[in-house]
């Protein structure tokens, strides 16, 4: 029986020396849904995934995947038996042929589906007798996906799955991922391609500097997130941050607000403070991502400058 939450972490932390890659991360992934895992390079996505798979040990905190503890080596084997993983680098054994690598991987899993294997082999046009080292990067990615998808895993974890794929293959992959939950597979994938995430994900988990900065279903994001532009006839007044205001930027006579909820009340507040031009528009994932990340970048730079000033 698959638990309702297939991945759950509590205060999960990973330090590499003095650098904290994952910072008290609390995340939860719902079963039989597609969750997009977003973040900048170095945000802690790969470290989180590697901790879930037992490849790196957490510095503190805990995590559970499919009911098994990630920090217990024996339970970690059970996790890996039940999930499929496609890593960021798609590093496969170059000295094996495609057919040999499939045979090798198949031997570890009782739930291997030969019919899916055959279908994907034909669909991806992978030459069975060619050495893996002779495959292009895109073909290697397809082979890694075939190895992951030729089972019906309870959880499919993919780290940048579309990297190196041509547009047709990306489309095929996205279609495969979309149909996975219907077969009882939960998909958890990291990607920089926000448009792809927006197309197929049910839930969005965004992390930055090892912390969750957004955890919401895409439906909620579409329903609730709004960009509110307030135009004033005089220099924009100071507005207080009320419920739902995520980001607020003031430039001359214009105030731009990114709201995660309560858009009507925020617009009303603008009206009350003398806004003459009010525009409320939906926001896409890309804008939310950039706003969130850029704001934190700005804060970082500001703190850095302040520290430098203090030193001078």
């Amino acid at each position: 029986m698959i638990p309702e939450r297939v991945i759950q972490t509590s205060e999960l932390t990973k330090n590499y020396g003095s650098f904290r890659a994952v910072d008290h991360l609390n995340l939860s992934v719902r079963a039989e849904r597609i969750t997009g895992f977003l973040g900048r390079n170095g945000a802690g996505k790969s470290s989180t995934i590697k901790m879930l798979l037992g490849m790196i040990q957490p510095s503190s905190g805990s995590g559970v995947v499919l009911g098994y503890r990630i920090d217990d080596p024996k339970q970690s084997i059970e996790i890996r038996r039940r999930i499929a993983y496609v890593g960021e680098d798609k590093g496969l054994y170059g000295y094996m042929t495609v057919a040999e690598l499939i045979r090798f991987t198949r031997s570890f899993y009782r739930d291997w589906q030969p019919d899916i294997e055959r279908r994907l082999l034909a669909e991806y046009r992978l030459p069975p007798n060619r050495k893996v080292k002779a495959l292009s990067k895109g073909m290697r990615t397809k082979l890694a996906l075939l190895l992951a998808l030729s089972r019906r895993p309870a959880l499919l974890i993919l780290d940048e799955p579309t990297e190196g794929l041509d547009p047709v293959s990306i489309e095929e992959l996205l279609q495969t991922l979309v149909s996975a939950p219907a077969n009882g597979t939960t998909v958890f994938f990291s990607s920089h391609q926000l448009s792809e995430v927006e197309r197929i994900a049910d839930d969005i988990l965004m992390i930055d500097r090892g912390c969750v900065v957004l955890d919401m279903s895409l439906e909620q994001i579409r329903e609730n997130y709004r960009r509110i532009s307030l135009g004033f006839s005089n220099p924009a007044p100071q507005l207080q941050s009320i419920l739902g205001v995520e980001k607020m930027r003031s430039e001359g006579r214009q105030i731009t607000i990114l709201a995660s909820s309560n858009a009507d009340a925020i617009a009303q507040m603008g009206r009350d403070r003398g806004a003459v031009d009010i525009d409320v528009s939906p926001v896409n994932l890309r804008e939310i991502f950039l706003e969130t990340v850029q704001e934190r970048n700005r804060q970082d730079q500001q703190q850095h400058l302040e520290r430098e000033d203090a030193l001078v």
Partner: protein
């Protein structure tokens, strides 16, 4: 199927090593006449084979090949970018390391076994005789000595990252060990001299006059060598278990 992966990783080195060992044995046997003719002192065919294969070229080649076979493993995989795939398999790290160690040691045994067949058969071809029992005895000595060289390199390969670092560290280490054996207090303990144990030189089980293994092999010493090698491999597994990849 982990054994298959290790087999594929080791196949080329094993085949090339076995072929090189066979070529060395055949070269020594087929060129015995000119070599023996130019020797400083006359020697029997059996003495010539011992000096050429078991006391120089063959042993040196075998030990170097044991060291080369000991390199590799998960750290090398990390450098090659395949460790993520291996570690995502539903097997323990200990299982991965031990399988690699056992398969690597099987390769060592294959190379050690080449003279068992190559020397007596080639000798027969040129009308000479070299006893199979002797080649089998030296096989057992090589198997034990090779295990130590292999085991230490395997441990180094699981501590030092990089393709050839373990080999580059192991070979000078063994040279240093060879130099230390000349220290008077170590010279008094001949069984610590692996180089002599594996070729029989100055050993009670070796007849220096006939250049033949003449007494039962030192089973205790050989057992200790295997135990030392097994310890190195277990240490390698222990080292890998908590490592971040």
């Amino acid at each position: 199927m982990l054994w298959y992966k290790s087999f594929r990783e080791l196949r080329t080195v094993t085949l090339v090593g076995a072929a090189a060992m066979a070529a060395a044995c055949l070269f020594v046997v087929f060129y015995q006449q000119p070599m023996r003719a130019t020797a400083d002192v006359p020697m029997t065919y059996i003495a010539y084979i011992w000096k050429s294969i078991y006391n120089s070229l063959g042993t040196d080649m075998f030990l170097i090949l044991s060291v080369i076979l000991g390199s590799g493993g998960l750290l090398q995989e990390r450098a090659q970018g395949t460790s993520g795939f291996t570690l995502a398999l539903p097997v323990s790290r200990r299982h991965i390391v031990i399988t690699r160690a056992v398969m690597g040691y099987c390769s060592v045994l294959i190379i050690a076994a080449v003279p068992i067949f190559a020397v007596p058969m080639a000798s027969h071809f040129i009308g000479e005789y070299y006893p199979v029992a002797q080649t089998c005895g030296f096989f057992a000595l090589w198997a034990a000595g090779g295990a130590v060289f292999y085991g230490l390199t395997f441990l180094l390969a699981h501590r030092l990252e990089g393709d050839y670092i373990a080999v580059l560290v192991a070979i000078p280490s063994f040279m240093l060990y060879g130099a230390l054996l000349n220290l008077p207090w170590l010279a008094r303990l001949p069984m610590l001299n692996i180089f002599h144990v594996i070729n029989g030189e100055d050993m009670p089980f070796f007849n220096e006059a006939q250049h033949l293994l003449a007494a039962p092999l030192p089973l205790l010493t050989l057992t200790v060598m295997f135990a030392v090698s097994a310890t190195f491999i277990l240490l390698a597994a222990r080292r890998i278990e908590p490592l971040d990849f």
